[in-house]
């Protein structure tokens, strides 16, 4: 994290149903609570229907930024799905972009049907690394399934993302936001997933 830097551009990407929109909303809330101008541009008209979903989260202490990140200006990309990380990098990435990527693919319908190829994970990793400064891989869905539900993958990814300290938001601050949004059982499960994500990075 560069102490001189005022604005940050984060993209959370994935496929409909992975909890992308809720994740970006919670992160955004945490930044507003910290006094940042925060703008989120979401594309989720087709979020439940197999399409790519992307949230642009933009923060600045000086001004309200526009809801769409300009070409090549993403600082951090958190991807809930590997090919979606690559898709976003091709448009918004630059040589300094850092990506954090859930390694579990979700196959598009045309791949399932045999009309298109889903690249091998090794090839995806190679391209991700070509188009970024650093890539962190997180087996978020696999861990989430072990914890009882694939949907927790989003919270594991946020835990990992915050543990990397690429953004001016501490994991304790995010815990506070979670506690204001969730009750009892749901809060406990999500806090555990958050913790799990941060442990994956520490390990």
């Amino acid at each position: 994290m560069n102490p001189q830097k005022d604005s940050y551009n984060l993209i959370i990407t994935g496929v409909g149903g992975q909890g992308n929109v809720l994740s970006s909303q919670l992160i955004g809330q945490a930044f507003v609570h910290k006094g940042y101008f925060t703008t989120i541009g979401e594309t989720y008209g087709a979020s439940q229907r197999g399409g790519s979903v992307m949230s642009h989260i933009r923060i600045s202490l000086k001004k309200q930024l526009s809801p769409l990140i300009p070409r090549g200006k993403a600082d951090v990309i958190a991807a809930l799905e590997p090919v979606e990380a690559l898709r976003v990098l091709t448009h918004y990435g630059n040589p300094e972009t850092v990506a954090i990527v859930n390694t579990r693919p979700i196959y598009p319908v045309d791949v399932i049907a045999g009309n298109e190829e889903y690249p091998e994970l090794a090839e995806i990793k190679k391209s991700l690394e070509t188009l970024s400064r650093k890539v962190y891989y997180v087996p978020a869905t696999d861990r989430a399934m072990e914890m009882g539900s694939a949907i927790l993958g989003n919270m594991i990814m946020i835990g990992a993302l915050l543990e990397l300290k690429l953004l001016p938001l501490r994991i304790e601050e995010f815990r506070h936001t979670l506690s204001k949004n969730f009750n009892d059982k749901r809060l406990e499960t999500n806090l555990k997933a958050l913790e799990e994500g941060s442990k994956i990075i520490q390990a």
Binding site: Q48, G51, P67, P70, V83, T90, P95, V109
Partner: protein, 637 residues
């Protein structure tokens, strides 16, 4: 999780633009809120519905946008402030009454919000709704930021009341459906106002000429008010080389473009929040101080055309200008705005270079984009009943073997125009269009037309606009098959209830309107089926297709899986038995994955056999019936 009724003036929240509009309405003391759901506008009324009880509001999901505007008008006539929201296509529906209501006038403030969808993220078109303001001679506001969305909403009620006419406000996807900082204002104490209609006065369009004349006089007064409005704002040098005139989302994009190009000292940005009527005086002042003007707006050239008209009127005073925008093709004619589009236009005007990334990086990115990114075609959700419905309809039409096809309207099921519905849907358009078209096709037999036509319709769409089309078919003795996919919700926009559900926006239980009873009363023959019963559904479809007389309605009824999944555990654990699956050797051409295409199934390349993706599968068990080898097995949970 709505926080829009927080009584905490000064508190700063992250709000969606639509939530900011809802909050602004509350701060203005709104009492009646109406809409038919439509992305990207739905959240306005949805949020107001969630606080209806605590804030003492009446909120409703109306059956369509015209009814919504009429319900809101009744409140206004009776002295209560009201808000009515819709998406761009909805305004087409409401416009029939709007084009009378402009003349009729209103009593208490009435705000009509339209949210447009540039790039058609969740729409069948990317219509610009602003020309309706010009058409109806009504004031139009366009917020640029989240805070402004709230402030403008609040002000719009006062403006509407002062002028005695409806005020229009236009959001776009990136202002309404984006989120940003909003500082709350105070909520007014309840004034306990009693609703009352003054029957000493008739509210109609007469006398038409005088009222039309008055609308135009209003525009002159509105221009004066707008000239002093803080929603019109300029930043930049006193005499800019280029003046950007913008509104809505263009305000933030333009600022960012200037920063990235380092053009802040050369280019000024004039942001107009009051876009109809245009505040002539201040626009002319700005035009006088520059030679070149660039228009940044979504989606059509509304500002561009109207400002040019003013420039022509005042050409003697301000001199000749060079205009850049859509007409000059510095800005594409279609699609949503972003900072890159502004950069591109300015780069051409200033003949300067701008590279977001090095050519090497661009080349690598382009190669990856070309070779490694499988597309994500939209399909039905795992467990969606529409997939099963389309499967049976496809099979029935194949067996029928008369080149049958389907027509459609708006909703999740419109995805059936692509692979998700086996390309069965051949033509459609607006709400209810499928049935209207089928009614027409059904009357062409005398001209040799012999193809069966199936009109696909949703349950909410049925109440919105398909009922008159079905009446038309019955009355005119058209032979049609109408399929109503009843999934007990307005699913596409987030599962809002409708008259068939038994619950309304206020959360009250109401007697559900029975779709089959309605259809029967029109004279249609009605069959009801569970789409998960694949064979039974196919047989009912065949029965309807084979009946040559009159309107046949097949209701395929099963609750939306997105709702069901929240309420119930998955019924089955589904797996593929690899011993039985014969993979590529299967004579079925991979019905499960290549044809049925539920995302819960996948093809394991190594073993060349089907598999269940346990992350995606919701255990509906329909695929078990699809497999000719019986290799897919369901076990009760």
């Amino acid at each position: 999780m709505s926080t829009i009724d927080l009584n905490a003036p000064g508190k700063e929240l992250l709000l969606m633009g639509n939530e900011a509009i809802a909050r602004g309405a509350l701060e203005a003391g709104v009492k009646v809120c109406t809409a038919y759901p439509g992305t990207p506008s739905t959240d306005i009324i949805e949020n107001l519905a969630s606080v209806a009880k605590s804030m003492g509001l009446y909120v409703e999901w109306s059956t369509n946008e015209k009814v919504a505007l009429e319900v809101a008008s009744a409140a206004s006539f009776s002295g209560l402030r009201s808000i009515c929201a819709m998406k761009q296509n909805g305004l087409n529906v409401a416009s029939d009454y709007l084009l009378s209501l402009n003349l009729i006038g209103i009593e208490a403030g009435l705000l009509l919000v339209t949210c447009d969808d540039p790039s058609a993220h969740s729409s069948s078109n990317e219509q610009d709704s602003r020309p309706f303001a010009k058409l109806a001679d009504l004031p139009l506001l366009e917020p640029s930021t989240f805070q402004e969305a709230k402030e403008m909403t609040k002000w719009a009620f006062a403006l509407s009341e002062e002028m005695g006419i409806v005020c229009l406000m236009r959001g776009v996807t990136r202002t309404s459906h984006a989120r940003g900082n909003v500082t709350l204002g105070p909520l007014p104490p309840s004034d306990g106002r009693k609703a009352w209609f003054d029957k000493s006065r008739q509210r109609n369009t007469n006398p038409i000429f005088q009222k039309h004349d008055q609308l135009h006089r209003n525009l002159i007064r509105l221009e004066e008010i707008f000239a002093a409005s803080p929603f019109n704002q300029y930043i930049g040098p006193e005499r800019p080389d280029v003046l950007i005139i913008t509104c809505g989302s263009g305000w933030l994009y333009s600022q960012e473009a200037l920063e990235l190009l380092g053009l802040e000292d050369a280019v000024g940005i004039f942001k107009i929040g009051t876009t109809w009527p245009l505040p002539t005086k201040i626009i002319i002042e700005k035009l006088a101080k520059t030679e070149k003007v660039l228009f940044i707006e979504e989606v059509d050239s509304f500002l561009e055309g109207n400002v040019k008209e003013l420039a022509a009127d005042f050409s003697g005073q301000i001199g000749p200008k060079t205009f850049f925008g859509k007409r000059s093709q510095h800005i594409p004619f279609f699609g949503e705005m972003n900072a890159d589009r502004v950069i591109d236009a300015l780069r051409k005007i200033f003949n300067m270079r701008y590279q977001a990334r090095s050519p090497e990086y661009e080349a690598q990115a382009a190669e990856v984009a070309a070779k490694m990114l499988p597309s994500r075609a939209l399909g039905f959700c795992p467990g969606c009943s529409h997939r099963a419905s389309y499967w049976s309809i496809k099979n029935a039409l194949q067996l029928d073997n008369r080149q049958g096809f389907a027509t459609y309207d708006i909703g999740c099921y419109a995805l059936g125009r692509g692979p998700a519905g086996y390309y069965l849907l051949k033509t459609g358009g607006a709400m209810g269009t499928g049935t209207g078209l089928a009614s027409g096709f059904g009357k062409l037999a005398d001209f040799g037309f012999a193809q069966p036509v199936v009109a696909m319709c949703g349950d909410s769409t049925f109440f919105h606009a398909a009922m008159p089309a079905l009446v038309n078919a019955c009355y005119n003795k058209s032979s049609i098959v109408m399929v109503i996919l009843d999934n007990s919700a307005t699913a596409m926009t987030g599962f809002q209830p409708h008259p068939g559900v038994g619950r309304n926006a206020m959360g009250e239980e109401v007697a559900p309107v029975e779709i089959e009873a309605v259809c029967r009363s029109f004279g249609a023959k009605v069959l009801v089926t569970d789409p998960f019963d694949l064979d039974g559904t196919k047989q009912k479809m065949l029965q309807a297709l084979e009946d040559p007389v009159g309107a046949k309605v097949v209701i395929m009824r099963r609750k939306c899986q997105m709702l069901k999944g929240k309420e119930e555990k998955p019924p089955y654990k589904v797996r593929v038995n690899p011993e039985i699956c014969i993979g590529d050797d299967c004579g079925c051409d991979r019905l499960c994955t290549r044809v049925f295409k539920c995302p819960g199934l996948m093809w394991d390349k190594k073993s060349a056999k089907a598999r269940i993706d346990e992350v995606i599968c919701v255990g509906c068990g329909v695929c078990v019936e699809i497999c000719p080898e019986k290799a897919i097995i369901k076990e009760e949970m």
